[in-house]
């Protein structure tokens, strides 16, 4: 089976499209040494506590891609119930809901959407989730504060 050839074709196509028609508020470019490793910057969505911040994300396409989901992690520290201290993301399409019909583009859009709409009921970081549920205003203030502190340098 010439899976490698076929896979590369998909990755090349996806990369090219990401560069040619980038998703608004998201920039993604493959690493010059490794075409499976992407450096991504996601702008904090408007009207969210992350507004104005620029969040660095790393995205890696494993050998099994697109049968297996990409591995994605936040490099910038942020206060969010579905993202833990190591930047790991709790998102169903990155796990059991992954489908090979999804793409890097759709994954990044979902992550952007997760910033707009945190889901404290399906949390990854228990402390943040608890705070979020008990005192949403306070939690958002912390998130805003962290965005100021960590997501403003480039």
């Amino acid at each position: 089976m010439n899976d490698n050839g076929a896979l590369t074709k998909r990755i090349v196509k996806e990369s090219a499209r990401l560069l040619q028609e980038p998703v608004p508020g998201i920039s993604a470019s493959p690493d010059e040494h490794n075409a499976r490793y992407f450096k991504v910057v996601i702008d904090g969505p408007g009207e969210s506590p992350y507004e104005g911040g620029k969040f660095k994300v790393e995205l890696f396409l494993p050998d099994e891609y697109p049968m297996a989901p990409p591995k994605v992690r936040f490099m910038t520290k942020l206060y969010h119930p579905n993202i833990d201290k190591l930047g790991r993301i709790c998102l169903d399409i990155l796990k059991e809901k992954w489908s090979p019909a999804l793409q890097i583009r759709t994954v990044l859009l979902s992550i952007q959407a997760l910033l707009s709409a945190p889901n404290p009921d399906d949390f990854l970081d228990a402390d943040v989730a608890e705070k979020w549920k008990a005192d949403e205003k306070g939690a958002k203030a912390i998130a805003r504060d962290w965005t100021q502190k960590y997501a403003h340098e480039h």
């Binding site: 089976m1 074709k9 049968m67 090979p100």
Partner: protein, 577 residues
Amino acid sequence: MADDDQFDIDTDSEIDDDDENEESDDDTGFFPIDEPVVYSSQSSTTTSSAAAQIPKQTKGTSEQSGNKYSTSINASNNHPQDNNFEYVVLSQDDIVKYMVECIKEVNEVIKLPSTTVRLLLHHFRWDKEKLMERFYDPNHQDELFRQAHIVNPFKRPHLQTQISSSSHRSTRRQISSSSLSPSSASITTTTTTNPLRPLTEQTCLICCSTKPINDMAGLECGHTFCIICWQQYLTYKIMHEGIGQTIPCPAKCDILVDDRTVLRLIEDSDVRRKYQHLITNSFVECNRNMRWCPGTNCTNAIKAPYCDVAMVTCTTCKTSFCFQCGQNWHEPIKCKWLKKWQKKCHDDSETSNWIAANTKECPKCHATIEKNGGCNHLICKNQSCKYEFCWVCLGAWEPHGSSWYNCNRFNEDDAKKARDEQDRSRSALQRYLHYYKRYHNHHESLRLENKLLEQVQKRMESMQQQMSWIEVQFLQIACDVLRQCRQTLMYTYPFAFYLKRNNHSIIFEQNQADLEHSTEELSGYLERDFSQTNASLTEMKQKVQDKYRYCSTRRKVLLDHVAEGYECDYWEYNEGF
């Protein structure tokens, strides 16, 4: 109806394939099982538990010896709970046949392709009646298919039925020759418009390659992908994620991939075998009335008409287990309490042994403290407690004078109160350990008696120089009785642990003591080497027979009493332990 014809053929051919390909991993044969399990003819027929209980004798002569000893053995097994529980032992092949039968049975009524029926049955955990009930509820049929993640076969475009007829079949390419043909047809009708029909190339959404339409495949939902991507996708799901029955269409739609499609697309024999294992697994595990035999390396399953607390015995590996919970047969204790007990043992026993021997509790906050040196003036390290107390008497430190090293405070009220509390928790632990140790002892003995059986069998061979084969069988029976008694005794301890004390629990304990005593004696007889004793072989035989008959009777008495207690609500439980 062309439809019906086709489906009839479907089911038939599936069953035929199955028969033909039992040993070979052929194309369409559903479930070639690696090692056909050989078992005696009795096993495949329905056996009542009493019949299955006839002690394990070497083949051929079982009838004669069965007659000779049947009275005593039946007496030992005739406890009320498993009297009328009928069940069948199924080998891997039988499981597959049974699954195909189930599908066929439903098929004959609802007339849908067998692969659809399989998905429907899986959705209803193989409960045929429930499926029928929902299927013929016209208002909810649509919902039913949606919930089961299947395209409603009655809502397919009209064109559909014509396409699957034979005239079109010949024009279709290989992989779509049967079950895939309607699907690809529906793709053309749903995703693209008819004028585009002569389209010869399509782009696969997974690999982004453009391929001839012959290399594309899809389910009835209409999403198509190239065959290579399909193979990779299915292989990944089966081998990496271990999903068989519930693989969805790769297009993030929730329509499930049916078995026929999988087996048609996957060529690798390892993947096929794993897939078939996953399917049988989910068939047995989802089926309320089936249980895997828990015996080591045993691949059989037991099928019963309903789920109940009853002892079932695998005909291949001879493992007896509770049909309801799948654990070893645990009469007299109920599944619920056994589960609780096992959890407790798992959490507690080893650790609590050590704790009991080496630590004391802080009299105030009950933190466990190990004293590894220093004086007897203890300050609890628990930051919220910091209680100061005497290690010897566990009373508060304050009233201890300068003469505290002798701890003359033994009768002080404070110290007494503290000790009382400590005593209470300690005695609870003692109580648990009492039952646990006995439970564990019998457990160990039971394990060792497998060895004993080997020794006894050797001895039986040597004894046959003086006695006939039939005459030495009493030893085999004695071993079987011993094992049964041990197993029962083992479970009497957790049963008693949860029991509240009343008149019946005292009777129970007496029964237990009696059975335990006689079981140990029987065990002693069997350990002894007969050739070393002065008594003649016939005398010894008489003794052993008397003993095992007595044990059997005592076991029955104990179990009957417990069963009676369940019926008449004698038993009260200590929920708190």
